[in-house]
Amino acid sequence: MFKRIAQTAGFTGLLAALLLTLLQSFWVAPLILEGEAYEEAPAAELHEHAEGAMAGHVHDEAAWEPENGWQRVLSTAGGNLVVAVGFALMLAALYTLRTPSRAREGVLWGLAGYAVFVLAPTLGLPPELPGTVAADLTQRQIWWVGTAASTAVGLALMVFAKHWLLKAVGAVILVVPHIVGAPQPAVHSALAPEALEAQFKIASLLTNAVFWIALGWISAWLFRRSDAPGTQTGLNHAL
């Protein structure tokens, strides 16, 4: 059973991560690099002035950082792979409980994943270029995880619950994080020009949409393919 999930997730993650890396390299990464150019200029200045006050402060320089170019692309591809396999594991886990009747049904699961992990969180915390002022990182991460979880539960209730009352409860759960509101900085400001930020938001939302649709479709296709009755030896194995 677990072998089927792992196989589906492994191959799906690999293919979807390749697609995502390709789209990112041509569209998203150049925007990030452009954003960093704005970030690095004032940061260097600030560093000079603050040197005296920051004496003894250990900088991030100690931590490894990929060099721009192939190293950075490969490193991002690695990050994409881990994230893609992670999301594919979640999808394959859901398929063991509710097997898609056809591969195309996976697209719907992919769109649900897009709503849970991209659309809902970005309503409060839009995609940001480096150099954008934001609220405390941990606070934002907590809101992000909470929003994803409540969107998942809310959507599941709205789609699968039989009773209208449960569907209504699902809608409420879905909306709650947005009523609470995402943590915001005291003052909004960004180093990159607004047009670049806007372009980055569109690039990020569209590449993620393609990634999730591919992830859903490929995972459902592979999951169903491995379910050939009688020929699958690993199927009846325990964990």
Partner: protein
């Protein structure tokens, strides 16, 4: 997914039910563990505060709209 038929000749509805329940609980355990493993992978690459992991997956985080910096 096919449910294996009980081998005992004395196989009754009770045996079949227990086999079905066992298969279902096995499926649930596999699904829940895969879900946790998946969430851990996403957390590690997307949310971990370890500097080297942040730097390596930096562009992944920005592009996926995970909170970063």
């Amino acid at each position: 997914m096919s449910i294996s038929t009980p081998r005992q000749t004395s196989g009754t509805t009770t045996t079949t039910t227990s086999v079905v329940t066992a298969a279902q609980s096995q499926r649930l355990v596999a699904a829940v563990s895969a879900m946790f493993l998946g969430a851990f992978l996403v957390y590690f690459a997307g949310f971990s505060h370890i500097d080297a992991v942040h730097n390596a997956a930096h562009d992944t985080r920005h592009s996926s709209a995970f909170p970063c910096h």
